[in-house]
Symmetry: C2
Subunit: 228 residues, 2 copies
DNA sequence: TGCCTAGGTGTACGGCGTACACCCCTTCTT
DNA sequence: AAGAAGGGGTGTACGCCGTACACCTAGGCA
């Protein structure tokens, strides 16, 4: 009567899994704020000892990566109508909606290298919408950077970060990129050609891209003013 | 011969001060990365015991606030020429340059409420340039939000955060705002009138502002494409 | 039957921010 | 000149964090 003891609170807990851990972490962060999410508090939530989590996530960084990966994966991918401006608008507003549902997710996402599969997939889809709409590769490239920049002068968007990490794996995944993310691959290739030797990501001129976006905004508002 | 012992490394250290602490912290973060800046490492750098720092900064948050405050204060305030687009452009590129000099500063700044005097002063000056250029108060308001938003759909810019904190002090500083930051006060007042009951900062519709900026960018790039 | 291994446990370490009680040296008062 | 006051550096200690490492244990497979 006592040996299979702990049926303590009625619900017998299913065994842990990476997915269960990540979703519990998301729920906990939603409810209690990201700053009070620790390996210990999360373990406690799952009625488990802290070290048990490490059988499912490599470390806390990996936990956070997994959390944003799920949130980004939940972005609604509406079907394209063919009007690129409308489609892009919808996709971006869907992303916004998904992230607003978890208030911790934006800072966490931004604090990280963030180039996870879900993220790349989102960016690739967006890029594809521009290209399908007839924008040139260059213009699409600029636009993607414009969308990622914050324009106070507080720049450096979501790319960059985490430089090589491991020359082997980097080269391998770069080779695999076109297959999974054809649109990203296309603008990457074009950028590489136009400016072979450059500082950060191949062929990207941060300063020029920042100024492009800034001018787009300034010209846009100038035009609005001119039209009264 | 021994009692006034420690003239240890030649340079007798001057006494600490808030400014010396903050500048040492900036130098340390520049050299070693923000993630290895701790109260202990900083104290060690200053040949002092960790708790000594607390006589000059309230806590680590305050230390970080002070650091960005100095960096933001170093933004070059070029004289206005009267051509608002040019002036705004210059001011923003100056901000970018100032922040790029300290790679840790952008994430730190964004992680914080950030509404320090130097920050408000920068924003007020920028706002003033738009207003002086003849833009309407409403358009200026929208533009300021557009500049603060990041357009992946990963929104919520630099405003918001830290809601009341202390109803007393809040009301006091709101009353003092027009004197120090007249331009900010003007758009705040206008926003308040147009939409008396609203969720976050008085009279600001996040969603609408986000969409305004997004459309500005999309229309701008659409126009570029049309001109080949 | 007995081994292998995936997954949960327990203990422990070093680092963090910081509360609190000191003490000493300077400066100001009378 | 004496003594009070207090600003600023010190020492100790607490509770939290992430996580390394050794261990145990239950189920599946040979």
């Amino acid at each position: 009567m006592g040996t299979l003891s702990d049926q303590n609170a009625g619900t017998r807990r299913t065994t842990l899994s990476r997915d269960r851990v990540l979703r519990a972490a998301i729920a906990y962060a939603d409810a209690n704020g990201i700053e009070s999410l620790s390996m210990r508090s999360l373990a406690n939530e799952l009625d488990v000892v802290p070290m048990a989590l490490y059988k499912h996530v490599a470390n806390k960084e990996d936990l956070l990566d997994g959390m944003v990966e799920i949130v980004v994966g939940e972005i609604d991918q509406a079907a394209a109508t063919g009007e690129w401006k409308h489609d892009v608008r919808l996709r971006i507003l869907a992303a916004r909606a998904a992230l607003l549902g978890h208030s911790w997710s934006r800072p966490v996402l931004e604090s990280r290298g963030a180039m996870t599969p879900a993220m790349l997939s989102y960016l690739d889809a967006l890029t594809g919408l521009f290209l399908a709409g007839g924008l040139s590769v260059d213009l699409t490239h600029q636009m993607m950077h414009a969308l990622g920049n914050r324009m106070w002068g507080f720049s450096q968007e979501l790319f960059a970060a985490t430089p090589p990490k491991d020359a082997e794996t980097l080269k391998a995944q770069k080779a695999a990129l076109p297959a999974h993310y054809p649109n990203l691959a296309e603008i990457a290739k074009a950028a590489m050609h136009s400016d072979p030797a450059s500082r950060r990501a191949p062929g990207c001129d941060d300063q020029a891209e920042f100024e492009f976006a800034l001018d787009l905004l300034l010209d846009g508002v100038g035009r609005l003013q001119a039209h009264r």
